[in-house]
C-alpha cells in the first residue's frame, strides 16, 4: 500500500507501509522451517559423512592391501598394512568424519586375511587369518593368493540427533553407523605367505641333486678318468690329440664273428697313419664251440689261446687295407698301430675280420666254413690320426 504525503517542497515523497498480507504465512514458516531442518536437512547433513566415510573406509582398505601385497613376508605385510591404517586413523579426515576404528589388529580397525582360491573347479576360496599367516606351504600351481583387508569403522553423526524422537535411534542419523569394507590385492610374492615370521629368504636355496656326481667330470670337454664306462678307452680321441695328432677319420662299426670275408669299414688309411681301435668293454664273440666243454669259445678282440692263424691269436681282430696285391693283415689289438705298410692307392679303406682262417682253404665262398659256428659281434671304434 502506498500513500502520498504532502511536503513543504513541491516534490512528493512516496512512503512504503508494511503490508498486512501474509502475516499468517510468515508465522507458519518458522515452525515449518524448524521441522524441515530437524527432520530433513540435519539428517541429510549426517548422511553426507557416511557417504564420505564409506569412500574413505574403502580407500584405506585398498591402500593397506596394496601395501601388504608387495611385502616379502607376512609379518612385514601386517606391519605395513598397520602403518597405512594408522596413518589414516590419525589424519584430519578421520577426525573430521569422526571415524573410530572398531576392533581389529591392535584395535586399529582392520584385519588382514590371506585368501587362497583354487584356480580350477569351483574356485573355492579359503580364508586364513585374521592377522596370522597361513600354515600350509603355498601351492602356486593350484591356487591364487590374495591379501584381504577388512576395515571396520564407527561413524558418529555429524550433528547429534540422538535425542530426537523417531530418528534419534537411526544409525548414522541419531546413532553411530558401523561401516565395514573389504579390499583384495594379489600377493606379489606368494612365497612370503608361509609363516608369520618367515621373511622371504633371497639366498641359500639348494638343489635337491647335483650333476657332478659322475667321477671325472670336472674339466669341461676332457675325459679325466675315474668313471666306469662302456668302452675300454673312451678317451681314445683325447689320447691322439694329446699326442699332437690330428684326427683324420673315425667310425664305429659292428664286425660280425660269422663273417667269413673281410668286412669293410668306412675309414680310409694312408701310409704313416695311426690306426687306433677301441672295443666295447664288455664285447665278446666266439670262434666256435669248445669240443671238450661244449661251450662257446668266447674271446675278446685280443683273441684266445687257441692255435694261431697268420701268426695272430685265434679269435682276435685282424685288419688289412685294400691294396693290389692285397696287403698282409695286421693284428688290431686294443691300442694303436702305426700303419707302415704301403697302400694300394693314396688312401685305402680298412677292412676287418675275426681271425680264424680267412681264405679259400678254410672259408670257401660257397659251402661250409670254420666261421659257421661263430657267434656274436664286436663293436669297434676306429680312429685314424696322423
Amino acid at each position: 500500500m502506498h500513500k502520498l504525503v504532502a511536503m513543504s517542497s513541491s516534490r512528493a515523497i512516496v512512503l512504503k507501509l508494511r503490508s498486512q498480507r501474509g502475516a499468517s504465512s510468515t508465522a507458519e514458516f518458522i515452525p515449518a522451517l524448524f521441522v524441515l531442518v530437524l527432520l530433513f536437512i540435519l539428517p541429510m547433513l549426517n548422511l553426507m559423512p557416511i557417504v564420505l566415510g564409506a569412500g574413505f573406509t574403502y580407500l584405506v582398505s585398498n591402500q593397506a592391501a596394496t601395501r601388504a601385497a608387495g611385502q616379502s613376508s607376512y609379518a612385514e605385510a601386517l606391519l605395513e598394512a598397520n602403518k597405512e591404517v594408522q596413518a589414516f586413523n590419525g589424519s584430519a579426515w578421520s577426525k573430521l568424519l569422526q571415524m573410530t576404528p572398531v576392533g581389529g589388529y591392535m584395535t586399529n580397525g582392520f584385519d588382514l586375511y590371506t585368501d587362497e582360491t583354487l584356480t580350477s573347479g569351483a574356485g573355492t576360496t579359503t580364508s586364513y587369518g585374521p592377522n596370522t599367516a597361513m600354515t600350509a606351504i603355498p601351492n602356486q600351481q593350484a591356487n591364487i593368493y590374495e591379501y584381504k583387508v577388512h576395515c571396520t569403522y564407527s561413524l558418529s553423526p555429524f550433528v547429534n540427533l540422538s535425542n530426537l524422537p523417531f530418528i534419534g535411534s537411526v544409525p548414522g542419523i541419531g546413532q553411530p553407523y558401523l561401516m565395514s569394507m573389504n579390499a583384495h590385492k594379489a600377493v606379489e610374492i606368494p612365497e612370503s605367505l608361509s609363516g608369520i615370521n618367515n621373511a622371504v629368504a633371497f639366498t641359500g636355496g639348494a638343489a635337491p641333486f647335483q650333476l657332478d656326481s659322475i667321477a671325472g667330470s670336472s674339466v669341461p670337454g676332457l675325459f679325466t678318468g675315474g668313471g666306469p664306462g662302456l668302452w675300454n678307452r673312451p678317451s681314445i680321441y683325447q689320447i691322439a690329440e694329446n699326442a699332437g695328432q690330428t684326427i683324420l677319420d673315425s667310425d664305429v662299426i659292428l664286425v660280425d664273428a660269422r663273417n667269413k670275408g673281410w668286412q669293410g669299414t668306412n675309414v680310409a688309411v694312408s701310409t704313416g697313419n695311426t690306426i687306433m681301435v677301441d672295443y666295447y668293454a664288455a664285447g665278446q664273440w666266439s670262434n666256435g664251440i669248445d669240443p671238450v666243454t661244449g661251450l662257446p669259445k668266447n674271446t675278446d678282440a685280443d683273441g684266445g689261446p687257441g692255435a694261431a692263424f697268420m701268426g695272430y691269436p685265434v679269435g682276435c681282430m685282424i685288419g688289412r687295407i685294400d691294396a693290389s696285391p692285397p696287403a698282409l693283415p695286421s693284428y688290431l689289438k686294443l691300442g694303436k698301430l702305426v700303419w707302415s705298410l704301403p697302400v694300394g692307392n693314396s688312401t685305402s679303406n680298412l677292412k676287418m675280420a675275426l681271425n680264424e682262417g680267412l681264405g679259400p682253404l678254410l672259408s670257401p665262398t660257397i659251402g661250409p666254413s670254420v666261421y659257421d659256428d661263430n657267434a656274436g659281434f664286436m663293436v669297434v671304434r676306429i680312429v685314424i690320426a696322423q
Partner: protein, 553 residues
C-alpha cells in the same frame, strides 16, 4: 539538510579521502596485478615449456625401447623383448627372430650362474661364464648404439627396419607443444639447446623378475622390490657384477631432480633414463617494461619402456626313438638320463655343424666346442649338458627352479620308440613332462650352424647297437652365428619321402631326416613361437642292426 543539498545540485565538498584512497589503491594494486599477471604468464609459459620437454623426453624414452641392434653372439637385442615378428629381424629361413632385452639377457645369465652353482656342474658353470662375456659385449654394443641414437642427428633401427631418429622426434615433439599461448610476443627454442642425455635415477625398479623361487635369487632384500630387480645398482653373483637397466612396462616420467649421469662405484654403466633439457627464448613486450628477452631452461626425465615377453618359447628338450632297454641302470627320469655314467662317458665321435643349410641339405664340418676346452671329441655327457644349458638359456629368466628340479626327477617313459618324451616350459616358467608322437620319417634335421653330435655304438644289443644323436638347435643365437634359423627351435618338419636305409656307420641316415619349411618373409610370426611341439634339443637313440654277412674276398 540532505533534501536541501539534493535540491541545490551543488557538488559535495567532502570526499577527497575517497579519491586519495582510489589513487593509493591503484598505485598499489595495479603493480601487484601486473606482477601477478606477469608471474602467471611466466608460470603458464613455463608449464607449457615443461609440458613440451616432458613430451620430448617421453618421446625419446619410447624410441629407446624400440631400438634394436644385432648383438655379438646373442642375436637381436634391445631394451625390450619382442616376439619374432619384426620384418628386419628375418633369418634366412624367412621367419623373424626374437629380440631379447638386455635386462632379460643379464637376468638369464645371472640365473644360469646360480643354477650352475646349485647343480655344482663345471660344464654349466663354464657355459655361464662364456655367456657372461657375450652379454657384456652385447651390453657395450647396445649402450653405444643408444648413446649414438640420442645424439643430434643420431639414428637407429627398430625391429621392422624403420629408422628411428630420437633427437629429431624429440625436437619435433617439443616444438609441437604450443608454448606461445600465454606469451605476448614470440618464443622459440634456442638453437641447438635441446640436449638429450642418458643416465640414472637410483633404485628405480625394473620389470625383470628375480629368480624364482626367491630363495634362489642370491641377493639382498634391498636389491629387489616386489620380486623385481632394481636398476642402477650392482647385484653381483659369484664375483660377476650385474647392473640392470632402468625401464618399465611403459615409458614414464621420473623425478628429474634425482637424475644422475653416472652412479659412482658401479662396475659398468647402462644408462637408460632419458634426461632432456631445452632453453626457450621469450621475446616479450608489455606496457610497463617494453620489450624484453628472457630465457628459461626446462628439464625432464623419463624411463624407457622395456617390454618383457611373457611367453618366451624355449621349445622342447626331447628324447626320441626309445632309450635302449639294456641301459643300466635304466633312466626313469631326465636327471638319471643326464647323469647316466655310460652315456656320459661315451666319446663324441663327431661334433658337426651344417655348413650352408640344414643337414642333410648341406654338408657338415667337424667343429670344436669353445665351452668344452675347444675339444672336437668331448665326452658325450658334456655335450648333453651343454644342450641342456642352451635350452634353459632359451627359456629366459622366468623359469621356476623348483619346478625344474621337480620335473627332472619326475617319472618319464623313454621306452616308446614312436614317441618323443620331452620336458617343456610354460609361460610361467613351470616345467612339465609330455610325450609327443615321433615319426622316424620326420626326424628333425640338424639346423644350419647349430650343434649336431653323435656317439656310435653306445649301447650294444643282441642284434646290433644303438647310436645316439644330439641336435642342439639353440646353441648359436642370432642371424650371424645362428645360421638359417638363428638358433630358434624347429617345428612343422616336413617328412622326407625316402625310407631310411641301413648302413654300418654311426652317421644318421640322411634320408631319414625331414626338412624345416621356409617362411614367407615379412612379419609373419615364427611358428615355433606359438607351436607347442617345436624342438630345441633332441636326444635321439637309433638302433643299428648288424650288417649282412659278406663273403670273400
Amino acid at each position: 539538510m540532505r533534501i536541501n543539498t539534493l535540491n541545490t545540485g551543488r557538488r559535495i565538498q567532502s570526499g577527497n579521502l575517497t579519491v586519495l584512497t582510489v589513487v593509493f589503491l591503484i598505485a598499489i594494486i595495479l603493480p601487484i596485478l601486473f606482477f601477478g599477471l606477469s608471474y602467471l604468464k611466466i608460470m603458464a609459459s613455463y608449464q607449457g615449456q615443461k609440458s613440451a620437454i616432458d613430451v620430448a623426453s617421453l618421446s625419446v624414452a619410447q624410441d629407446l625401447g624400440n631400438i634394436v641392434i644385432e648383438g655379438p653372439g646373442v642375436g637381436f637385442i634391445s631394451l625390450s623383448d619382442f616376439a619374432p615378428n619384426g620384418s628386419a629381424t628375418l633369418a634366412t629361413d624367412g621367419y623373424p627372430l626374437t629380440v631379447r632385452s638386455i635386462n632379460s639377457l643379464l637376468a638369464t645369465t645371472r640365473l644360469e650362474m646360480i643354477l650352475s652353482d646349485k647343480l655344482t656342474d663345471p660344464i654349466l658353470v663354464n657355459c655361464a661364464n662364456v655367456d657372461y662375456a657375450r652379454v657384456m659385449a652385447a651390453k657395450t654394443a647396445l649402450v653405444t648404439a643408444l648413446q649414438a641414437a640420442v645424439a643430434p642427428g643420431g639414428t637407429a633401427l627398430d625391429k621392422d627396419g624403420n629408422i628411428i631418429k630420437p633427437y629429431d622426434r624429440a625436437l619435433n615433439a617439443y616444438n609441437s607443444v604450443n608454448i606461445k599461448k600465454m606469451v605476448d610476443g614470440t618464443t622459440n627454442i634456442k638453437a641447438n639447446s635441446l640436449t638429450i642425455e642418458l643416465g640414472y635415477v637410483e633404485d628405480l625398479v625394473t620389470n625383470m623378475p628375480i629368480p624364482r623361487p626367491a630363495v634362489f635369487a642370491e641377493l639382498s632384500s634391498a636389491d629387489q622390490e616386489s620380486g623385481f630387480y632394481k636398476s642402477g645398482r650392482n647385484i653381483p653373483y659369484n664375483g660377476k657384477p650385474f647392473v640392470f637397466a632402468a625401464g618399465g612396462n611403459s615409458a614414464a616420467l621420473v623425478d628429474f631432480r634425482r637424475y644422475k649421469t653416472t652412479i659412482p662405484g658401479l662396475p659398468y654403466q647402462i644408462p637408460t633414463v632419458v634426461c632432456c633439457r631445452a632453453e626457450q627464448i621469450y621475446n616479450e613486450t608489455d606496457a610497463i617494461t617494453g620489450s624484453r628477452v628472457r630465457s628459461v631452461t626446462a628439464t625432464s626425465c623419463a624411463r624407457p619402456a622395456c617390454l618383457v615377453d611373457t611367453k618366451p618359447k624355449a621349445g622342447l628338450f626331447g628324447v626320441s626313438g626309445g632309450v635302449p632297454l639294456n641301459m643300466n641302470p635304466y633312466p626313469g627320469n631326465f636327471y638319471q638320463l643326464l647323469t647316466h655314467v655310460d652315456l656320459y662317458n661315451c666319446p663324441a665321435d663327431a661334433v658337426y655343424t651344417p655348413l650352408t643349410d640344414d643337414y642333410p641339405i648341406s654338408a657338415t664340418a667337424l667343429v670344436a666346442v669353445p665351452e668344452l676346452s675347444n675339444r672336437k671329441h668331448p665326452p658325450f655327457g658334456h655335450l648333453l649338458r651343454l644342450a641342456f644349458f642352451d635350452w634353459l638359456r632359451k627359456a629366459g629368466p622366468c623359469i621356476n627352479l623348483s619346478s625344474m628340479f621337480t620335473a627332472m626327477q619326475a617319472p618319464a617313459d623313454f621306452t616308446v620308440v614312436a614317441s618323443t618324451t620331452a620336458m617343456k616350459i610354460d609361460k610361467n616358467g613351470v616345467f612339465s613332462i609330455e610325450a609327443f608322437p615321433f615319426d622316424p620319417l620326420k626326424s628333425i634335421p640338424a639346423s644350419h650352424k647349430q650343434l649336431y653330435a653323435v656317439t656310435g655304438g653306445a649301447f650294444p644289443t643282441a642284434n646290433g647297437a644303438f647310436d645316439v644323436y644330439l641336435k642342439d638347435q639353440v646353441r648359436n643365437l642370432g642371424r650371424v652365428n645362428g645360421g638359417k634359423h638363428g638358433g630358434e627351435p624347429l617345428t612343422n618338419i616336413q617328412a622326407n619321402s625316402a625310407i631310411p636305409g641301413v648302413s654300418n656307420r654311426f652317421d644318421e641316415n640322411p634320408s631319414g631326416l625331414g626338412t624345416a619349411p621356409n617362411g614367407p618373409g615379412g612379419t609373419t610370426i615364427r611358428p615355433s613361437y606359438t607351436a607347442t611341439d617345436a624342438i630345441a634339443v633332441e636326444l635321439k637313440f637309433r638302433e643299428r642292426s648288424l650288417p649282412p654277412i659278406v663273403y670273400p674276398p
